[in-house]
Symmetry: C2
Subunit: 359 residues, 2 copies
């Protein structure tokens, strides 16, 4: 049992080659005689200790105030050592096997001497009970690599909260020496916008043929992509993939120019046959070169930092208003009245707000 | 002087055939002996009195609490009479002359017996000092029509506030008997998402040739369009327009399916030669038929009402936090520190929030 073994090693404080599952990290936190101390955590992270990194991320994900306080202190101390990775958003159309692609690109990077962290924002993970087991099973080779760290989506909380936690985890991963960070999502909801706000480069992973497999992807995501990748361009799929490439290129050509000055492109890959994977990395490197030279990269990172400050404020203002049992019931009542046209949305809002602010 | 004449007529309480400018409405409010009363306003609106409608919208736009209170009461009383118009969002790529198109489509509708209100959300209007004069000058024919009401964007406030005011104005226009409402924007910012959340149908107005004239349009807007219109398909432009139509059709074909079940299309028009205008209206009618039959139309209207309730709440929570002179300075300081990497965005947010909530 891989899981037990890694948990055991964690308990012993040994830096295990595999990534540490959430459960193991939780046990690490709860079963240790003394709780993870801030300085101990920072030291561990900076020395590249994966178990401690994982435990610290578990603190970030915890909703206990004392954990949150500790997490905040760890983040502040890691901050000066962060920022040095390439942050890549990878969004997959539902149904496209993301794991084979991420594993292929990941292994390529590891072989080139990179250290790779794979984080996820998966709004569906709450329902499915987390995807770590699935991810780790599917990315068996990558998860066995010493220089790879795979961490699933936090399994509870609002999208805003989950995204913020992932954004905070990036800082710790970078401080732990990971020079490449993947943030993966399934392109079904609002999470892509959040991911777009924490990465340098945005990949959209698709299949050949723009028909049925696009069902479920949210409109607007295509226009965020810096590169569209058509995976599984192998076997009987090659002709279809080539056709799709041409069609997507034409479509991209009709889009308004990007702010970055970059011209989005379409690449064919076969993760199975390890075809086209290097091109993906070369494309990302080209993008980085262009945007670092133009100053766009830095400007975007700065704007993203500002964005997350305001986003965190907003999230907190919202929580303070909405996370109230009595108010929740009232809101439901007003929603119903608004939908029935009995009261205007504005009046309903004002009545709810008056109660809130008069307290 | 058109403006003076209409202002004069307003003062006399006469229902003028022309639309009433903002200035005139303001004067109407300030110079009358008695202020506009709620019941008087509602009665006037329901009887289709344009001057009173205009004055009531001015109340909506006012930031004075007593005006806002009155506006809210007027809206509530008009609510049962609202909802019966076709709400159409029209977004133009900057540089595309919107007025000729809106005038052509507007006059077509007026001639078919419709009553048309044209509202605008223009985030740039604050800088340019409002666009009413421009709009009215450019849409001379339409603004002279008895059954047309042209109202520019509120010229101050945040985008959220401006959008909310426009959304509220729709209710009054519908209660005044306008069966068609255009909400126009320039596709440069966040306003399109807001417009999308208050209309039944979303038009994107472009020019032939997808090159330079796309500069400035925001990515993601194309994927919101229910119909793309290529205007100025006349004279030397015809070949270019036909080519662009085909290219956009191919691009649209590559997009994920819409939630509505509608397949977005591309139409050629020449507002100048009055060509293709009828097709635009037939397309909208077809869309309405499809979505009303499927239940999507009603579901969307309901969701929009809910959206605006929560949007108004959010706007108010934000205002309460951000509209504070002392805090504004502090926020600027923290923004700087965050950008310099001296403090994490999250810690900065927490420090600002602690101060806010501890009061």
């Amino acid at each position: 049992m891989t899981k037990n073994k890694s948990a055991l090693n964690v308990m012993k404080g040994i830096d295990v080659p595999e990534t540490v599952s959430k459960d193991a990290a939780k046990r690490f936190l709860s079963k240790r005689k003394k709780e993870l101390k801030v300085d101990e955590a920072v030291e561990g992270i900076l020395s590249g200790n994966i178990s401690i990194l994982s435990a610290a991320i578990t603190l970030i994900e915890s909703n206990l105030p004392k954990h949150q306080k500790k997490a905040a202190q760890i983040i502040e101390k890691c901050l000066p050592y962060s920022g040095n990775s390439v942050r890549i958003g990878i969004t997959v159309v539902p149904g496209v096997g993301k794991s084979t692609f991420i594993e292929a690109l990941g292994l390529y990077l590891i072989n080139k001497g990179h250290k790779l962290a794979v984080l996820a924002i998966d709004p569906s993970s709450e329902q499915s009970g987390g995807s770590i087991l699935g991810d780790k099973t599917r990315m068996e080779q990558l998860s066995a690599e010493k220089n790879a760290f795979i961490r699933p989506s936090p399994s509870s909380g609002s999208l805003g909260g989950v995204a913020r936690k992932t954004r905070e985890s990036i800082i710790l991963c970078e401080a732990a020496g990971f020079d490449t960070v993947f943030i993966e999502t399934v392109g079904v909801g609002q999470s892509e916008t959040k991911v777009h706000s924490m990465v340098d480069f945005f990949l959209l992973l698709m299949l050949a043929g723009a028909g049925d497999e696009l069902q479920g992807i949210k409109r607007g995501i295509m226009e965020m992509a810096d590169t569209i990748i058509i995976n599984k361009a192998d076997g009987n799929n090659i002709d279809k993939a080539n056709l799709a490439k041409k069609e997507y290129e034409n479509a991209l050509h009709m889009f308004p120019p990007t702010e970055s000055g970059w011209t989005p492109n379409v690449l064919l890959t076969s993760a199975l046959q390890n075809f086209g994977i290097e091109d993906v990395w070369l494309t990302i490197k080209k993008y980085l070169e262009l945007t670092k030279k133009s100053g766009y990269w830095l400007q975007r990172r700065n704007n993203q930092a500002k964005y997350w400050m305001h986003e965190t404020i907003l999230e907190s203002l919202k929580n303070n208003f909405y996370n109230n049992t009595k108010r929740k019931k009232l809101i439901k009542d007003f929603e119903r009245k608004v939908q029935q046209g009995k009261i205007s949305p504005f009046e309903a809002a004002h009545m709810l707000l008056n109660k809130y602010f008069s307290k």
